[in-house]
Structures are given as C-alpha cells and as structure tokens.
Subunit: 251 residues, 2 copies
C-alpha cells in the first residue's frame, strides 16, 4: 500500500485529504498543516504541525500555494520520498533537484464548501522516471481516478484552457447575473440553461454545440443586444466573443 | 384538456412536440410542418402541411424563425385561438393584433440530436389578459414545467443573459478545445471541470464561485498566460475577462 504525507490545508489539500480518508487503499500517514483549525473534517491521518520536519513516506504531496513550492521544496531536508506538487502552473523543475520529483495535478475547481466526487477528477501526472510515474499512476488508481501523463509544457497550456472553461465561464455567469438583476429577474431561471450548456459538450464538440445569433449572423438581434447593454465592458465582451464565434464558423 | 396546434419543425418545435407526445395531459391536435421529413419521431398529432389553413385550437404555437413571426401571424386568418410565439427576442406586439396574443418561451438550448428532460425547462410566459396568462400557465403545468410571467422587455434582457451563459460560454469551451488541440491534449480531460463549473453555480452565486489567477491578481501567472497565448483574439478575450473579474471583485 502506498504511504502518503500531505502538506497543506487549502482547497486542493482539503479534497485530497478527504479522498484519502475515504479509501482504504492508501496509507494516509501524515497531514502537515500549520493551522489545525483549517482541517474541517475528521481525518484518519495524524496531524503534524511542524512544517520543517516532513516524515518520509512513499510520496510527499505539496498541496501548497504556487509561490511557495520552489522555496519550500528546497528548505525541507532531502527525503527518500517522491516529492510532488499539485499545481497546474508550476514547472516540475521548480521543485528542488535534491528530491525525486513529480507532479500530481488534479484538474478540477475545488472549494471547501463543495462536496465533490474525487474519483471523477482527472489527475495529470509527471515524473522523471518510469518507476515514479508508475507510483503516481498507482496513487491515482487507488483514489479511483483516471490519470494522464502530461508534460510541464502541456500542463501549462492545459491550465490556460482551464482558466477559459472555469474562471472565464464563471465570469460570464456573473455578467448574466448582473443583467438578470438589472431587469428584476431571478438568476435561477438561467440555471437549467447553464447546466445543459455544460452537459451538451460532454457528448458534442463545442463546434457542433454552438447556436445563437452570432452563429446565424443575425445582424438585427446582434445590433439590438449591443444597443441594450449599458455596461461598456459587457459590450466589449459581447463584441469580442461574437467575433470569435464568427471566426470559428467562418461567418 | 388544452388543445394545441404546433406550427414549425425546427429545434424548439421538435422538443415541444416530443414533450406533448409524451404527456396525456394535452390534446396535441395538429402539427403544421412544411417538410414532413423534418418530423424525426413518431408523433400522436395529425400532420398538416398547409401553412395557410391553421386549424383553431385553444392555443396555436408558432415555433418558427424570429423573422417569420410577424409576417406569418398577419397572413393567417383570424383565429379564436390564443396565438403565441416561442422566441426569446421577439416582442409580443410583433404578433398581428387581430389575434389573442401571447409568448411561450422555453429558456433552454435545443438541438434535435440531444435528448432533453423538457420538464426541467423554465417557460417564460406573457399575455395580454389574465385568462390567457392562466391558459399558458396551465399548458406549462401540463408539460410539467415551471412557468414565470415575464414582460417583453424582461425577456429581451433575459435573451442577452442567455447568450452570455450559452453561446459565449460554449465559445470559451471552443477556445479551450483549440488550446488543448494545440498541445496535443484530449479535450475530454476538461469535461469534468466544465461540468463542475456549471454545477457549482446551481448552489453558489457566480460571485462566490470565482477562483483563479485573475481573482487572486496573480500577476506572474497572468503575464505568463498572456505570453503563451499565440492567437491575438484569444489574448484579447483573456485580457478583457481578466479585467472583468477584477472589476467585479474590486481587485
């Protein structure tokens, strides 16, 4: 059984810890947290609060902020463990060279408030040797997850793609919220449409799934929408995304 | 039992017909289609191909293209029926005044290829009298749907909001598809994130649900992402939506 030390108490650490607590396939040996009040669920793992003394296990997972990864990995002593981080945007080479190094990046949006089926999260793994890659694959398997071997360059592109489908998409929801508020409409009426839009591309490609006035080049509607939008930034976003749809579909 | 004549064979008509076929609460009396090859499922309704002779029922639903609604409603003879259209962006007053008029707008993205639970679709209704509004509410109830009374002005704003959460969101998925293709990554890896992003705002507000480098004002990551994007239009969209997130959250 793979033994794991988890370092950190943020959103990713929280869900990873929960997933490890919920399976008997992994020896969740230590959870290193600075502030124990951030541990929000009953855990099977002993809590360690000394960030300097990391117990060595098969794998040490640094689920800490992007900026801290490089420095922290150089500050801790050399471990026998495979040391991995969980970031979408930090290069494997940013981990200190004295360690066996890897990446274990769960591609999902994590909030402590949300209950999540961790087994549905794809894990992007990277390591320097076949053995270490196999170890990360086994860890992913033990969590019931699908893993994909992805280079640091690919992960960097994937992280940008994730910003588009998550952060930017969520901001479009926010803009819709502002528009519905502005017309005294309950945002909730848009929720089935939001969900179906996401469900649609589980089966169809986004190219096939596209509909609407921009695709049809329905100039009358496009013009009226632009006239109706009173927020300048929303107008610009409307114009730019309309243009983008039309470029994609050769309109 | 409410009797209904449906006119049209596009995406909305297809799903509306299917929903009416699937319930015994509605007398689906006539389905008026020009081209019978567009009827893709076995229907309980008699098919009528003469667009000029509309049989009168309690309600006549014009599920035809936006541009055709006004002209068509003036070309058909005066009916005893309540004549409604299903469009998000056409004013109630665009229907010819000789009819009892209304709007029955199902707020969803419809594709013939997709199976859809129609009872989950919110119906935006509008009419000129209480009786007609009640009739549309009863039709919506008979389909198992929730209905909301919405004015033409509100519907117009709602349609813009729908463009943001559906067409524009789908275009962000498309851009992510281009980015993942560009790095030889399977777009499928992003699907759980796409779905969770939509599920998250079923419970949290988009404001609460936001995460990522724009929200954190993580300048290093924002700069690197912009440097990595090689499509000028994607760069502009990245900048504009980052700015929008930061304005919303006062960063």
């Amino acid at each position: 059984m793979i033994s794991v030390t988890l370092v950190g108490s943020g959103n990713v650490a929280h869900h990873l810890a929960k997933a490890m607590d919920d399976t008997s396939n992994i020896a969740f040996s230590n959870w290193v947290v600075r502030d124990t009040s951030k541990v929000l669920h009953e855990t099977t793992a002993p809590i360690v609060t000394d960030f300097k003394k990391i117990p060595s296990t098969d794998i040490v997972i640094l689920a800490i902020s992007d900026d801290a990864i490089s420095t922290y990995s150089s500050q801790i002593e050399t471990l026998k463990a495979l040391v991995v981080h969980t970031s979408g945007s930090v290069n494997l080479s940013d981990l200190d060279k004295k360690h066996r190094r890897g990446v274990f990046y769960p591609l999902q949006t994590f909030s402590k408030k949300r209950v999540l089926d961790f087994s549905k999260v794809p894990i992007c793994i990277e390591a320097l040797t076949k053995q270490d890659l196999q170890l990360l694959k086994s860890l992913s398997d033990a969590l019931g997850c699908k893993s994909v071997v992805i280079s640091s360059d690919q992960r960097s592109a994937l992280h940008i793609a994730a910003v588009f489908v998550n952060n930017f998409t969520n901001q479009l929801y926010r803009i819709a919220h502002e528009i519905s508020d502005g017309s005294r409409l309950d945002f909730a009426i848009l929720k089935p449409l939001i969900l179906e839009t996401a469900l649609k591309v589980q089966d169809l490609s986004p190219y096939q799934a596209q509909t609407g006035p921009a695709l049809r080049n329905d100039k009358k509607t496009l013009k009226r929408h632009l006239k109706q939008l009173d927020n300048e930034n929303h107008k610009l976003i409307y114009e730019l995304l309309t243009k983008s749809i039309q470029q994609t579909h050769g309109r």
